[in-house]
Amino acid sequence: MTPRVLLIEDEPNITEAIRFILSRDGCEVVTLADGLGAVQAVRKDVPDLLILDLMLPGVSGLDILVQLCADPETALLPVLMLTAKGQGRDREAAERAGANHFMTKPFSNDDMRAAVRALTGR
């Protein structure tokens, strides 16, 4: 079964890169460019993995994460947080909020692939 990955990222070039990497690795990649409709999108069709950028226009990635963890339907959804700020306290905040993995931009494509594989149980 092909794992479905939801990517919420506001940088189109990064979105394109991740989509290319994961598609080639056998994932179905759905994308959103901002956080405004993110929670509804997840609830409507819960993906196997959520890749979430921390800094998004409209709503912060952390807020989305907190909302998802509070909802029993989505609480067990594996989440990979991405951030470009790379500060220790962002990682802590993300892990406290319930992120399963945390990656700092820029990342290596191998790391991305490995993390997604681990989180989707392959």
């Binding site: 990064i14 394109e16 890169a17 226009p57 470009a84 700092t104 820029p106 290596s108």
Partner: protein, 895 residues
């Protein structure tokens, strides 16, 4: 007369004196002093001025130097007759301040300074030493003269042995007399009475010898006068300088000698006694001097040449076979010497114990300072001091060889104690006299006296080497002890007196003028100088119209400060129904004003000041002004303190604000760095991801080209971001170099439009311009201004969300300023965001479409600040509207 008989009669005489003293003290203890407190006793006690020197030495002095001996009597006479008001002041102060000695007086006057007490004590002890030696010498001489001619029984001891016995006897006698108990006021009624008796004895003895000479040896006064005219004494010639100097020295001595101060001030029971003494004491001196010349003339005539003239009073009756008269003369001389030694050593012992022993003891054992031990300690200290003082006198007698004439020794002591005079006189009459001045004057005077007179009196090579006398110390000619500063033609005594007194006074004045008295000093100064003024007690309450309101106002302003005084006076005038600020000096107003002033300067001062202005002068105007300016100084000081306080508060607030600002800046800096990190990492992420994809290979050519372009675009974005950051940093630091020049505004807008057309070239934009208005030459940095224009036009191209985007550029000139407005037809910037757009990284919409990092408007704001202009957002213009304002002519760089 047999020596042992002589000693016996001396002892009998002393026992008699002791009985008199004991009896007087008994009466004093019972409070029945009666006639013992009469002015006569006081006057007679002052006769301790006449010591063995005047009893024996005056005759010798007359025999050698003619009438010059009179100066020793004239000085005190002038002081008592002409200056008795000063003595009265001294006595009044002494009684009011409970003064115990001259050292106490000076110490008390200059702020109760212990240092001064020590200095005065030391000078007094040193100066008294030759004087006491003089008494020892005269008594010893008289013993040897009296005992040797008819030596039958006990062999008389040598003069040295006699002297030491005399010294010991006098010490024991004085200790028994003077230190039997301790009196708070240091008054010794017994001693004063005994001294009065001795005064009678020496006067009677001298007059008896004189009468014997005039009527026994000569044939009455006329014959005597003829003999005087025939003698060498008649040939004396007057030396004005020496006379003036000697009169000055003796006049000073009569006030400053410790024993004179003791009987005149300390033992004084009633101030009115002084007015009796002011004529009676000169009369006593006159009686003492009356027969000096006849005795001297007869002695020179009758006695063999080479006889000691100092002993004529004794040797003349002896030579004429008048044993009883000689005995009387001997007792007279003995009286003179003993009374002087007793009082002098008691006075000195008081000073030593009060100013040297007690302070040292109190410092060493402060805990027991107030215990009963003190009485015993003081008595012991005084007894030892008496022994030491007499011992010093004896040592001086031995050291100086006992050969000098009596008068010469006495004058050394006179010149020594005269050093107290400047400090005393100025201290009594000048409030500006200070402790530093007194210390300087006394020290310098003492040193010069010691160097020019006291130490040389031991003879060449005794203390000062003979070479120093001849050539000065270290060969410094102008420092010769007998010719200071090259003034050598003077009599040594006058020379010493002149230099010591001149430099003493000068040092005192300089020290006083250049230092400011401390609080205690000022208080004591006022108490001394105005001792007569404060006594007058004023009835309280005020009468109408006694003071001028203007004067009261001026005084009040000085005390209360201008504002308060005016306010108070105005309120009072209003109370009285008067306009202006000068109320009638009604009793009610005066009383209120006094109460008000008392709040500032104290009740007594306030009353004194009001009294002054109301015509009831009790203090001098000078004092009032001094008090007032002191008060003004205090107010000024407190005002200064207040302003310092306010400044401190201001500084603290400024610091707090600065700290807040720094904290805020630090937070901003962290946020900024975090933003930069984000802005840098974002393009890097794309670059890294796609470059890894490309290296993995296995891609169709169109995708390789596409990904390559993405990498290229993101790399350019990075470069732009770094350029913007550097630009912003330069602009914010104010280190930007402006390239000023005249440029046409229209051309600048052309350039900006051309550059901005690269942004979103696919969108077609309608630009509205007003070309005639644009035709202005601006003096500015054209490149920088164009940079701002490009930014605004690019933003419009990026963010204007109208389907048919338009941009209107309108120019207006007003005064020295030109405004350029950029207004588009989009939806504009939401009101709550308008305040943020000029901040760094204040990107409002999805920036990816525009490709900016959110630094553009922040850079524009900094550029405009550097160009002396502004950039603002204009709300309510339909679309996004920015206004750029620049000076028409920018003259210099605005940081």
């Amino acid at each position: 007369m047999p020596f042992n008989l002589l000693v016996l009669s001396c002892l009998a005489y002393v026992v008699f004196l002791f009985a008199v003293a004991w009896w007087a003290e008994r009466r004093a203890a019972r409070g029945r002093l009666g006639w013992l407190q009469s002015p006569l006793i006081y006057t007679l006690s002052l006769s301790i001025y006449c010591t063995a020197w005047t009893f024996y030495g005056a005759v010798g002095y007359a025999a050698r130097s003619g009438l010059e001996f009179l100066t020793i009597y004239l000085g005190p006479t002038i002081v008592f007759v002409g200056w008795w008001w000063m003595l009265r002041k001294l006595v009044r102060i002494g009684r009011r301040q409970g003064v115990t000695s001259i050292a106490d007086l000076l110490s008390s006057r200059f702020g109760k300074s212990n240092l001064l007490g020590v200095i005065v004590t030391v000078i007094a002890v040193v100066a008294a030493t030759p004087y006491i030696a003089l008494q020892l010498q005269s008594v010893t001489l008289s013993f040897s003269v009296f005992a040797s001619p008819t030596d039958e029984g006990l062999a008389p001891p040598g003069t040295e042995a006699t002297a030491i016995w005399v010294a010991t006897g006098l010490a024991i006698f004085t200790i028994l007399f003077g230190t039997r108990n301790l009196d708070a006021k240091e008054q010794h009624h017994g001693i004063v009475t005994a001294i009065a008796v001795e005064a009678v004895v020496k006067l009677v003895a001298l007059i008896a010898v004189g009468v014997f000479v005039v009527w026994g040896l000569a044939d009455g006064p006329f014959d005597m006068k003829a003999r005087i005219d025939a003698s060498s004494i008649a040939d004396w010639n007057l030396q004005p300088g020496r006379w003036a100097g000697l009169m000055f020295a003796s006049g000073a001595a009569v006030i400053c000698l410790p024993r004179m101060f003791q009987v005149m001030v300390v033992e004084n029971a009633d101030e009115r006694h002084l007015s009796t003494a002011s004529w009676a004491f000169p009369l006593y001196l006159f009686a003492m001097s009356l027969f000096i010349v006849p005795i001297a003339v007869m002695g020179l005539e009758r006695l063999p040449a080479g006889s000691n003239a100092d002993m004529f009073v004794l040797t003349l009756p002896l030579a004429e076979g008048q044993g009883t008269l000689a005995m009387l003369a001997f007792l007279g001389g003995f009286s003179s010497a003993t009374s002087m030694v007793i009082v002098e050593s008691i006075a000195l012992a008081t000073m030593v114990s009060n100013h040297i022993v007690m302070p040292v003891w109190l410092r060493l054992r402060p805990a027991k300072g107030m215990s009963g031990d003190v009485r015993r300690l003081v008595l012991l200290a005084r007894r030892i001091s008496i022994a030491v003082v007499l011992g010093l006198g004896y040592a001086y007698y031995r050291k100086s060889g006992g050969s000098a004439t009596l008068a010469a020794i006495g004058l050394i002591a006179f010149a020594g104690v005269a050093q107290f005079l400047p400090a005393m006189v100025f201290g009594l009459f000048w409030r500006g006299a200070t402790r530093v001045g007194a210390v300087m004057g006394l020290s310098i005077g003492f040193v010069i006296w010691a160097y020019t007179l006291f130490l040389p009196s031991f003879g060449p090579d005794a203390v000062i080497p003979a070479q120093v006398f001849a050539e000065g110390p270290w060969g410094l000619d102008w420092l010769r002890p007998r010719a200071l500063f090259g003034v050598g033609a003077m009599d040594p005594l006058i020379h010493a007196l002149f230099w010591s007194m001149t430099l003493n006074t000068a040092a005192f004045l300089i020290g006083s003028l250049f230092t400011f008295p401390g609080p205690v000093e000022r208080m004591q100064g006022a108490a001394f100088v105005h001792v007569f003024d404060t006594a007058a007690a004023n009835p309280r309450g005020w009468q109408r119209g006694v003071a001028e309101p203007e004067d009261l106002l001026v005084m009040s302003q000085r005390i209360m400060g201008d504002e308060d005084a005016l306010a108070f006076f105005e309120a009072e005038a209003k109370d009285q129904g008067k306009a202006g600020y000068l109320p009638d000096p009604s009793p009610l107003f005066m009383a209120r004003l006094e109460r008000r002033l008392a709040g500032s300067v104290g009740a007594a001062t306030a009353h004194a000041m009001m009294s002054q202005l109301a015509g009831r002068a009790t203090v001098t105007v000078e004092d009032l002004m001094a008090v007032a300016s002191e008060s003004a100084q205090i107010m000024e000081y407190s005002a200064r303190l207040e302003s310092q306080q306010a400044e401190l508060t201001r500084t603290a607030r400024a610091l707090r604000e600065a700290n807040d600002k720094l904290t805020q800046l630090s937070v901003q800096k962290d946020a900024f760095l975090s933003q930069i990190s984000h802005e840098l990492r974002t393009p890097m992420t794309s670059i890294r991801a796609f470059s890894e994809i490309l290296t993995e290979g296995d891609l169709p050519a169109p995708m390789v080209a596409h990904y390559g372009r993405i990498i290229h675009d993101e790399a350019r974005r990075l470069t732009r971001l770094l350029d913007d950051l550097l630009d912003l940093s330069v602009l914010e630091n104010g280190t930007v170099q402006l390239n000023l020049g005249l440029t046409n505004l229209s051309q600048m807008i052309d350039r900006a439009l051309a550059s901005a057309s690269h942004t979103k070239p696919e969108r077609s934009f309608t630009i509205h311009r007003d070309l005639p208005m644009e035709n202005i030459f601006l003096r500015t940095d054209a490149d920088r201004l164009v940079q701002v224009f490009i930014n605004l036009i690019s933003n419009a191209r990026k963010y204007c969300d109208s389907p048919t985007p338009e941009l209107r550029i309108s120019v207006r000139q007003k005064g020295g300023r030109v405004t350029v407005d950029f207004v588009d037809n989009g939806s504009g910037i939401p009101q709550d965001s308008q305040a943020l757009i000029f901040e760094k990284f204040a990107r409002l919409t999805d920036q990816t479409r525009a490709g900016g990092a959110g630094l553009g408007l922040a850079i524009c704001r900094e550029v405009m600040a550097n160009l002396g202009g502004t950039i603002t957002y204009l709300p309510g213009q339909g679309g996004a509207a920015f206004r750029v304002a620049v000076p028409l002519r920018l003259e210099q760089q605005v940081a």
